[in-house]
Amino acid sequence: MADGLTAMAVAVTLAGSAIATAWAEKAVGAAAVGAMAENEKLFGRGIVFMVLPETIVLFGFAMAFLLLGKVG
């Protein structure tokens, strides 16, 4: 029972953080492409801003992994 709940917690953690990342990147990506259409030089900055939210899913990954360690 406890194992099952932990495994579900792992899934929720990873899914939640992945959705959050996707959501954030959607907005940033659209804005970055718009800015790049104006000025191609912004590609470098754009890609940096674009991948900023990936940190969220990394937190999720790290936490999910630590939780996974508790599953028998």
Binding site: G44, R45, L58, F61, A62
Partner: protein, 678 residues
């Protein structure tokens, strides 16, 4: 290597009669980055273009119109063209020939389009077979001609008196003027779209035939003219390209005085050149009578707006990474150029994330082939070369650290001894136990801790470089870097104590323990700490973080303690190294597991480890094709995500600690980009 080339400011002054020879010398030198004079002064104004500028630009305009008519737009490699004396004469001759042809072509094109319109308007009338004059010249009759989508029936109900001529999809209705409006409304039911009656008399079919034969005649003529223009293009395209090149150079020279300062009888050129080449320039300009050259090395005393241009001086492999720096921003002249760090760290991170000897080899080969084939697009060639270096690290880590080739590990994970492995596939036990297995929980923890070590090394370099950058500018900012470094080491000490082996006699067999945590100096950190719930934070960490914050408070302001959380987030961000490595390994494994049953008997393999090929050869072939495609996809996606993540760690976590950028690239007078790719 860490600093841009030192620059020297040069002033060249001389009498106006030496202006042209001086421009020639400067242009040939290709060493001076001109600083434009803005002419705020009444006595010393902006120079005027050389006398020939107007003529040269007129010729250039003509030449460009010729190039446009000839449609000269491509031709690659061209050696620098030699100015030809009779360039002007040749342009005029070519223009006369070509203009005539061009005008004839335009005339033909307009005639043909007129005829097209006439043919289009005659076509419905040709169907009705009534002479054209029949449609005109009535006083009490209205003629409605148009296309219809269906046959007109029941017209009598609206207009009892009528005459209808109908053909396929066309109808002409002759009705008294009085009932015309009603009929028009009635006809709309049949999709009536009126057409105008074309000019001319007689049988519309004959008129149509005549127009079509005219059109044929003129389009034959047009083909002839285009052939002639094509011949001219084949003959003169090269000339046009070269001449344009020559004229552009001439214009640049002739208009150069617009960037100089000039008084009535003299001129002054202001610019920057690499300090190492000043002597060459002095020698080259010394021959001109009356011209004075003054130079002073940059002493950092200039205003920010007056900063020297930046010439990055990298050679060989490091030069390939310059584009990554420039993609972010050109370094400013007085800061450390981070390209060398990118050269060391980007392939390392990339390799850690790919971590597969098979993919590594493919990247090395692809990177090498593509970077040597694609000379035309230097940026792409550089990118491929960068992938090649990354591939080298991917190969090394794949062999030594992870023991993995094309997603298949040397040995199965401990938790799943029957999973696919090279030892099982080859039927031979590979006598090497790689220290980290990506698919074992133990190995992933090891990777996560290694990521933390990577973060500390990377960020420390960032803070040290930041300190070096700031020490001459702003002591306060430099001190804040020291404060951050304390906080960073304090945070790291927490992880080091957390991850270290409790009993050194029986150490945890992790790479990170063996290389870092169980070794001096990290093993010396006293473990005694403050208990926070189930965690224990070493006093050592607390002390360092407190010292760091004490330094940060006066240098960075009151928000500094909160900002330390963001530093922790920075450190966690490096876990992407582990994340991408594991995810990529898992995707490759998933494809292998899904597709392998096509090639071998899976049940037998899982239970006994014996390899028995599928009896159906077609399945084996299909299996190999699908596995190839799947791995190609994993390789490409992996390369993209690993390079984006690796560059992100450098741009976001690393560069923000020290790098400002915003410099101006050194672009000397005379160094021309080939604009006209003819």
């Amino acid at each position: 290597m860490l600093r841009p080339e030192p620059m020297t400011r040069v002033l060249v002054a001389g009498p106006k009669d030496q202006l042209e020879p001086m421009i020639e010398s400067l242009y040939a030198l290709k060493l001076v980055h001109l600083v434009d004079h803005h002419g705020e002064d009444d006595v010393i104004t902006i120079g005027k273009p050389l006398a020939k500028a107007a003529e040269v630009s007129e010729q250039l305009v003509r030449l460009r119109s010729i190039a446009n008519i000839l449609n000269v737009a491509e031709a690659k490699e061209q050696e620098p063209a030699e100015p030809t004396a009779d360039l002007r004469q040749q342009i005029v001759t070519l223009e006369v020939n070509l203009r005539e042809e061009d005008e004839a072509r335009k005339r033909m094109e307009s005639l043909i389009s007129d005829l097209d319109r006439r043919i289009e308007s005659l076509r419905p009338f040709a169907i009705l077979r009534v002479p054209l004059e029949t449609y005109r010249g009535y006083t009490s009759l209205e003629v409605l001609v148009g296309r219809v989508t269906e046959d007109v029936i029941g017209l009598e109900a609206v207009a009892p008196e009528n005459e209808v001529v109908a053909g396929e999809g066309v109808v002409a209705v002759f009705v008294p003027t009085a009932s015309a409006d009603k009929v028009r409304e009635f006809l709309t039911k049949f999709g009536f779209a009126p057409v105008d009656v074309p000019q001319g008399e007689g049988s519309p079919a004959n008129l149509l035939a005549a127009a079509e034969s005219d059109r044929q005649k003129w389009s034959d003529r047009l083909v002839e003219i285009e052939d002639r223009i094509g011949t001219l293009r084949a003959k003169y395209a090269q000339f046009v390209v070269k001449a344009e090149d020559v004229l552009e150079v001439e214009i640049e020279k002739a208009e150069a005085p617009l960037r100089f300062a000039a008084s009535e009888h003299s001129f002054v050129v202001d610019g920057w050149m690499p300090s190492s080449r000043v002597d060459d320039a002095m020698r080259a300009l010394a021959g001109l009578p009356g011209v004075l050259v003054e130079s002073m090395p940059d002493d950092e005393s200039h205003e920010e707006a007056d900063a020297p241009p930046v010439l990055l001086k990298h050679k060989g492999a490091v030069k390939r990474f310059e584009f990554l720096t420039k993609l972010y921003s050109t370094p400013s002249h007085d800061e450390v150029d981070p390209t060398a760090f990118l050269f060391l760290l980007f392939p390392l991170f990339f390799g850690l994330m790919i971590g597969d000897a098979g993919y590594g080899i493919v990247m090395i080969i692809l990177g090498f082939v593509l970077s040597s084939k694609l000379k035309d697009s230097p940026d792409f060639a550089d990118l491929m070369r960068v992938i090649l270096y990354g591939g080298v690290f991917a190969y090394i880590f794949g062999m030594v650290l992870y023991g993995e080739i094309f997603g298949i590990p040397f040995h199965p994970p401990v938790e799943n001894p029957h999973e696919l492995s090279w030892s099982a596939l080859l039927g031979y036990y590979i006598p090497y136990e790689p220290p980290i297995h990506k698919l074992e929980a133990f190995g992933v923890i090891d990777l996560l801790l290694l990521s933390v070590v990577a973060s500390v090394i990377h960020l420390s370099i960032g803070y040290v470089v930041g300190f070096v950058n700031e020490i001459h500018h702003n002591k306060k900012h430099a001190a804040s870097r020291v404060g951050w470094l304390f906080v960073l080491v304090g945070l790291f000490a927490f992880f080091a104590v957390l991850g270290r082996s409790h009993d050194l006699a029986a150490p945890v067999p992790r790479v990170v323990n063996f290389l870092f945590f169980d070794r001096p100096p990290l093993v010396w950190i006293p473990a005694a700490g403050l208990s926070l719930g189930s965690m224990s934070v070493p006093y050592f960490s607390i002390a360092l973080i407190v010292i760091g914050i004490a330094i940060l408070l006066p240098t960075e302001g009151g928000l500094a303690p909160v900002e330390t959380i963001s530093l922790l987030a920075n450190m966690m961000s490096y876990t992407r190294l582990a994340g991408v490595a594991v995810a990529k390994g898992a995707v490759a494994l998933a494809f292998n597991t899904m597709l392998l049953p096509l090639i071998i008997n899976e049940d037998l393999f899982v239970t006994t480890g014996a390899v028995q090929f599928n009896a159906n050869v077609a399945f084996i072939i299909l299996g190999f094709v699908l596995i190839f495609l799947a791995h190609a996809m994993v390789l490409i996606l992996g390369a993209i995500s690993a390079s984006i993540q690796a560059i992100r760690l450098n741009y976001v976590e690393f560069f923000l600690k020290f790098y400002k950028g915003g410099g101006t690239l050194f672009s000397p007078f005379g160094a021309r980009k080939r604009k006209m790719e003819a």
